[in-house]
Symmetry: C2
Subunit: 261 residues, 2 copies
């Protein structure tokens, strides 16, 4: 309780109330959906599992109540217990530097897995919080390991998920160590685009769930630079931005910017 000044603490007092009832936003935040019937089962953990295997996975997955904007999944140096799959909404991971200001280390969209940085040290290396009203599947890691041992497909797939995370992190390493502000931004937007495409959302029009400041921290740039680059890309006719709404007008040109470096 001492760590927290987040809204979930307040919420903690009315545990059984299922929080905001007016979340009748249809299915996306629905708590009682099984892996088998989840629309993300083609990209989340169930991929490559048979029907009966998915059923076994289902049994260890905990479907918590939805998270409100700013609620924390876990905090830096909390004991590692679970990995999480985003069902709907989005999250950011960040660390706080000693001088107090945060640095965003990742964004997570539906179907993506959160928390693997805690596996080896048994403590989470960052804090992660919801960027908007979101829902999550929690997968206790001990049980995931046990089940992976029984299901070679699951073991194989989880190795692949982790390997993918490693490959992605290395791309970001390259991005941060040698790309200009404009190249980083273009690459970031294209990355979001294909991640939205994966979940059958428009790859050319989407809402940014995070602030300019979040993006800046992630890309190693200041908010002011982010803002300037966004307007510059807009002037060039490559994107249209209106507050959190982004439209990619010329994907090829954006790609050319990234490839140039």
């Amino acid at each position: 309780m001492n760590t927290g000044n987040n809204s979930s603490d307040a919420e903690g007092m009315k545990i059984p109330l299922q929080a905001n009832p007016p979340v009748a936003k249809v299915c996306p935040h629905n708590v009682n959906i099984s892996c088998a019937s989840c629309r993300l089962n083609e990209l989340c953990l169930p991929i490559a599992l048979s029907k009966s295997e998915v059923h076994q996975l289902d049994e260890i997955v905990e479907r918590n109540r939805p998270y409100k904007k700013g609620d924390h999944l876990y905090r830096q140096s909390d004991e590692f217990k679970s990995v999480y799959a985003v069902r709907s909404g989005s999250f950011k991971s960040y660390v706080l530097s000693d001088n107090g200001q945060g640095r965003v280390t990742g964004f997570f969209l539906p179907g993506e897995i959160i928390g693997m940085d805690g596996i080896s040290s048994k403590k989470y290396a960052n804090s992660t919080s919801a960027l908007e009203h979101s829902s999550i599947c929690e997968i206790p890691f001990v049980q995931l390991e046990r089940l992976s041992h029984q299901l070679p497909n699951l073991q194989h797939h989880f190795f692949a998920i982790m390997g993918n995370e490693i490959a992605k992190d290395q791309q970001i390493h390259t991005l941060l160590s040698s790309y200009t502000a404009e190249e980083r931004t273009a690459s970031f937007l294209l990355g979001l685009s294909s991640r939205y495409a994966r979940v059958s959302l428009s790859p050319t029009r989407f809402l940014l769930p995070m602030t300019r400041s979040d993006i800046g921290e992630y890309l190693g740039l200041t908010v002011e630079t982010m803002s300037r680059i966004f307007t510059a890309l807009q002037r060039k006719g490559l994107i249209a931005v209106n507050n959190r709404e982004v439209e990619l007008l010329d994907i090829e040109a954006l790609r050319a910017i990234v490839t140039a470096s």
Copy 2:
């Protein structure tokens, strides 16, 4: 053939010759050492395995002939087949940007695992080459998976190794996105220091196996800046550098530089 101007290509022509016979440099590069008797078995894959389990691991490990400086373990977009454990010497991973210049994505010292970035896409995402005369244990991934399925300890440990890689990559993300040149350099030296300590080498005096340029590419800085920072740290009395030889004179002060940010 068009990509290559490295010594391993030349070597490729005399395949069966076992390369340099005068490698009688005693044990470190000795090819015929088992996991059970390897001095790295406390930090490499065998950790946490029982005697008989180590024996099973032994059977799938391929101990290739030593690699000469510049020889490649694999190249970017080669088919992923194995992960590699460094037995002696050191390696660097790098990607080439379209304009031709490389960007180093990692350095690997004895006991560390190379190649996990290829697991998900089935292709290596980078090239990796030896920085000096080095030896390697190759672990065919299909067999590692099969054995992990049989040995829960091994599965657990490999998850941990991958999780550790992810956590490390995120630290570098933070480093690159918000640290100054001096902070990055101090952090890099301290990192090397503790990695050498892990393999029972001096944490305060060591030889850098890589060039200034390699370090610069890794830290997102130019060679010139690297050189300047090294001399600056030396003037301040925090380190002593003589070509590739480094001595850390004031670890606490180096830590203070890193923590400041």
